[in-house]
Each structure stands twice: as C-alpha cells, then as structure tokens.
Amino acid sequence: MIVENTQTQMRKGVLEYCILSTIAKGEIYASDIIAELKKAQLLVVEGTLYPLLTRLKNNGLLSYNWVESTSGPPRKYYVLSEEGRKVLEQLDKTWQELAYAVQISIGDRKVK
C-alpha cells in the first residue's frame, strides 16, 4: 500500500511536468498528448488526462484553440501560456535537481 502510494505520488508529480513538456513542443491535441504519454508508459487511460488539462488550464498554464475536425466534434488544441512557460522552466530546473538527487541517492546501488 505504501509502495503504491509513493509510486502514485511520484508519477503524479512527474505527469504534470511531462504534460507541460509535451505541450511545450507545440500546439497539440489531447489524444496526441495521450499517445506520447502512453509511449512513455506514464499514462494508461485517457480519462485521467482531461481533469488534469482542465486544472492546468484553470491555473493559467495552458490555453486552447478550437480546431475543426473531419472525424468528429471540434477539437481542443492545447498550447502553453506565457505563465506555463515560466512554470515549465522552473520545473525543468527542479527536475534537474531531482534527477541529480536521485542519482546521488542511488549511488553505487544497482538499479535494474
């Protein structure tokens, strides 16, 4: 249970960073974000993404544009806002620090 909890916490923290990073690459549709995250094995189901995107948008980190679609309703294409870009820079920095910290912590221990 503790293991699961820690895993969830770790994943959750990283997930937002990854989403912001993915969007930072350019205007992107939600299902494409999912495809990327699935590739990275961070996310399994699409449903979890939408609340996250909504929250990030409400925090002013994201915005979206409606784009007409041939295969369904209009799509939301997400872009990073100016604030989001700043946050991402901070997160980049934090991640570097974390990665370093983890590196140090693991040390010589072999990680499979």
Partner: protein
C-alpha cells in the same frame, strides 16, 4: 437483430445498439458522478464525451459499419479508463470528496428500502437500520395493526417522514456500506440513476414536508398500482365489472326514463316534480340536455373501464372530442334552463286571512276531512257534472291525491283567546319577484265547509293555475275557545299532527275500530279527553281537574 437507438453526443448523431447504449450510459453516469464535486465537471465530462464521439467515428470509419455495438463501447471505455483508473490517478485531488463520504458511511441512516418492500419499504428500511431481518419488524407491525389498527397510522406517518432511498448512495448509507467509488461501482449495475438523482440526495435533509407528502402520494399510488398488478388483478377486474354493471344499469334506467318523459311526458299521470316545474318550459329540451349530461359521463366511464381494466374497446380522438363538445353544449343548455326555472323562485310572498267561524253548539266541534271531490268550474263544466250527476256525491279518496302531496295543507289546532272560533289561513308561494310571488299566493284556493258544529277540511289546496308549481304552501290554524269539546275524525290526522289512535288507546278503546276521538281545548292547547271512568290518576295530570269534572256527564 437488435434494436438500435439514435444518440446525440455534442451534436454528432450515432446509431447505437440498445445493449451498447446501456453500457455507455452507465459509464457516463459513473464518470459524471465521479467528477461531480469538481468545479469543472461540465468541462471535463464534455471533453470526455467529445473524445468518445471521436473514437466512435474512427471506429465506424475504420470498420465500415454504421452501428455501434457493445464491443465498441467496451473498447472505448477501456481506452478512456474506468472510474477506478481515474481514482488511482487522482487519489489526492479526490481525497476530500471521498472523505466526506467515508465519514457518513461509517454510520447507518434510516431510509425506506425500495428494493425489498412489501408496501413502501418502511419495515425493511427500519430492519436495515438495526441490521436485523425485516421479518421481525413486519411481524411487530402486524401485531400493532391487529391490536387496534394504530399501526396503519404509524406506518403512514413513517412512510411520510422517512425518505426513500433513491440513489445508490442512499442505499449504501442505509445498509451501512462504505461510500467510496469502489462501493459505487460495486452496486452500480443495480441502478441507472442519473446525475440528478444524486443531487437530490443532498436535498433530502432539507426536503420540506410538502415534497415528502408529494413523494408519499406518488409512492402510494405506485404501490397501489403494483398491488393491483399482482394479487389484486382479480379484485380489479371484479371492481371493473361492478362499475360496468352499475353504469349499464344507470344508463338503461336513464334511457327508459328519457324516452318515457319525451314520449309520454304530457300524458304523465303525475303532477310531481320535476314535471310540475317544467310544464311551460319546453321540457323536451331540458330532458334531452339532462339526459346527455348524465349519459355521456356514464358511457365514458364504461369505455374507460373497458379500456383500462379489460383492455378492450376504445374511442377515436375525434369522436371523443365531438362527444365532449356535445356534452358541454348540453351542460350549457341544462344550466341555462335550470337557472331560468330557479329564477322563478327568487322571491317569496305570503299572506294570511282570518275567517270567523260560527260557534258550535254546546261548545262542541266535529272536525272531518272533506271526502267530496272538488271540481273547478271548468272541470265540472267539462265533466258535465250538474246534468249527469245532479244527486250524486263524487267522493275523493286517498289514492286520488297521491300525486298532490306538495299541495297538501297543514292544519294545527290552537286555543283561541276569545270565545269566537276562527280559522287562520296562511298562504305562501314563490315567484320571480315579490309581485309575482304574491299573485301566485293569492291564486291559491282553499275550501273548507262548516255546517253547524261540523267543519270539513279539504286535504289539499288548489292553485288557480294548476299547471305550474310555485312552492305553494297553505297553513291552517284553527283557533277554538278553551274547554271546547272537539271530536276529530281519524282521517284528519293526514293533514294535522293529531293522533286519534293514541287518544283512543289512552281511553282503553280499540284505536283501530273507532273512527274518531274526543279532545278538549285546554290552557296548554289541545289535549286528549280522558274518560275518568277508565283512567288512573296519573293520566289526570294531563287535564285540569275542573274541565274533566265539567265535561263528565
């Protein structure tokens, strides 16, 4: 072959099989419930719905088909993730939401159990609350009901007061289950409640009495319905048959009455209501209108009963509308005529006339009912009575007058303040205004005759215009001096409140044989004269000692 449903997801139309639709609906309900406490629930669920629509479109395009089947929905859900997946991913964000439920989930709450109800689920709800078998509560209720019936009232009160477990959350709280998303999922299949159901869950606390009562009434009829559906089906049929028979009987009666009135109304041997009211008012209109006013609802009840209970026969909309219009028209005609007739009774008038009578010999009076038939001048001319029966007495009898009960006079006998006997005739009638009423009352003719001490009263009065009824009344007051000896014929009790039979019995005579009895006028009014030879002292109290002595010969 499967039934398909057309659904609309944010403006895009899909054909979906019924099973698939159920799965999708359950899923979306679940999702909505999950995000319910989020401020952005609408946006999130719309995003998800849009994505589902898109996935459907892709599926249909890829597989070149037109209808979404259950498998498609399942694969979409798999891709989108179930509520458990969401929960795993966002344990933190939803922690508070889950906590509120965890707290309330620890205790049980009293609800009516809609799943295991016998009547309204009160007993099983109580049983759930105490976590015992519902049988014991029901048994207890049965005992209270049998012991005086208060249980029924108690049950109804509880029915109103205890809310029904509408939503899954209610049911889980009722059974003391923990309220979390797993729990929701666990018994989700049992319920297809929509988003709104769940919201009403929160309103239960503050639900005003009115709504509870409304719920109760709704419930009552619902359960009544299920009762009739089950064991009461036969009972319902019997009631239906009874209604049908009653309506048919009434209908036949009214048809016969209608035809009889219409066909033979003017020859009717009775001057009775309502015929006496209607003679001058084109009665056939009123009869027809009245008949329609009564017959249409009867026929409607018959048809509705046939349709509702026996599921047979029906009436087309246009025919129904036509009949309704005819009925309303008939009601209008009927009401109009009735109002017009009622207008003839608006005012009342009365006057009285005092006629001096000759004092009887020895202060003795014989009172009788006139047995001679009275003929109006026209009648006697028409029947040529004078020529044909100059020496005949044409007698009146009881049966001859049965239809004139409303023309019967009322006679009372009182003491006179003076020695002179008088008869006060008081006439009453109604009319459309006072003049009319007074004219009507003056048109009343009443006949009595006096031959020495014999006074003969007619049983009825004769309105000059015999046709129409004006609520006429004639009250006669015969005022006789004190100590007058009055011999009253038995027949007179038909118009006066005098019991000749009892008076004879009081004197130990056979009341059935004797046609008359002797009374005396005392200070207290008319009294039966009791012969002291045969009476005991107690009865003497009724009469003053003096008069008894005096009258005794």
């Amino acid at each position: 072959m499967n039934k398909t449903i057309i659904i609309n997801i944010n403006g895009i139309v899909f054909h979906i099989e019924e099973d698939a639709y159920e799965v999708l609906k359950n899923y979306m309900t679940d999702v909505k419930r999950h995000f319910m406490n989020s401020d952005d629930s609408l946006e999130i669920t719309t995003d998800i719905e849009n994505r589902i629509a898109e996935m459907f479109n892709e599926l249909l395009a890829n597989e070149h088909k037109q209808v979404i089947v259950e498998q498609d929905v399942r694969s979409v859900i798999e891709q989108m993730g179930t509520v458990e997946d969401f929960e795993h991913a966002e344990e933190d964000t939803n922690a508070s939401f889950a906590n509120t439920y965890h707290n309330s989930g620890a205790t049980r709450r009293l609800f009516r159990d809609p799943d295991e109800h016998l009547i309204a689920g009160v007993c099983s709800g109580i049983a759930n609350y105490f976590d015992i078998d519902a049988v014991w509560i029901r048994l207890a209720f049965a005992v209270i009901v049998l012991a005086g019936g208060t249980g029924i009232i108690l049950y109804i009160i509880l029915w109103i007061v205890i809310p029904k477990a509408v939503t899954r959350a209610d049911r889980m709280v009722m059974k003391g289950e923990k309220l979390n998303l797993q729990g929701f999922k666990k018994n989700f299949e049992e319920e297809m409640g929509s988003m709104r159901d769940n919201f009403s869950n929160f309103k239960h606390e503050a639900k005003p009495f009115v709504y509870k009562t409304r719920d109760f009434i709704g419930d009552f009829f619902y359960h009544l319905g299920t009762f009739f559906n089950g064991a009461g089906k036969i009972l319902l049929k019997l009631i239906g048959l009874f209604i049908l028979l009653c309506c048919f009987g009434a209908l036949v009666f009214f048809i016969v009455a209608f035809v009889a009135l219409l066909g033979f109304g003017q020859f009717a041997p009775f001057h009775d209501m309502p015929y006496g009211l209607l003679k001058h008012h084109h009665p056939e209109y009123i009869y027809t209108a009245g008949f329609i006013v009564i017959a249409v609802p009867l026929v409607s009840i018959i048809l509705l009963t046939l349709k509702g209970i026996f599921n047979a026969g029906s009436i087309s909309r246009s025919a129904g509308t036509t009949i309704l219009v005819i009925w309303l028209f008939a009601v209008a005609v009927f009401v109009y005529d009735v109002t017009r007739i009622a207008a003839d009774f608006r005012a009342s008038a009365s006057y009285s006339e005092t006629i001096n009578l000759k004092a009887g010999k020895n202060n003795t009076y014989y009172l009788k009912l006139n047995d001679l038939k009275y003929f109006t001048a026209e009648d006697s001319a028409r029947l040529n009575i004078k020529d044909l029966a100059p020496n005949m007495k044409i007698t009146d009898d009881e049966d001859n007058d049965f239809d004139h009960f409303h023309q019967r006079v009322r006679l009372s006998i009182e003491k006179s303040d003076v020695d002179q006997p008088v008869l006060v005739e008081s006439y009453h009638a109604r009319g459309k205004n006072y003049d009319d009423a007074l004219t009507n009352s003056r048109n009343i003719k009443y006949i009595f005759t006096q031959q020495d001490s014999l006074i003969k009263f007619d049983e009825r009065f004769y309105p000059k215009n015999d046709e129409l009824w004006h609520d006429e009344d004639v009250y006669l007051t015969l005022k006789l001096p004190i100590n007058a000896k009055i011999i009253i014929d038995r027949e007179l009790s038909r118009v006066a409140d005098i019991n000749v039979y009892d008076c004879n019995e009081l004197n130990k005579r056979d009341g059935n044989k004797l046609p008359e009895a002797t009374f005396v006028m005392t200070d207290n009014g008319l009294q039966c004269k009791v012969d002291t030879m045969v009476t005991d002292t107690v009865l003497n109290k009724h009469l003053s000692g003096d008069s008894t002595q005096k009258l005794k010969k």
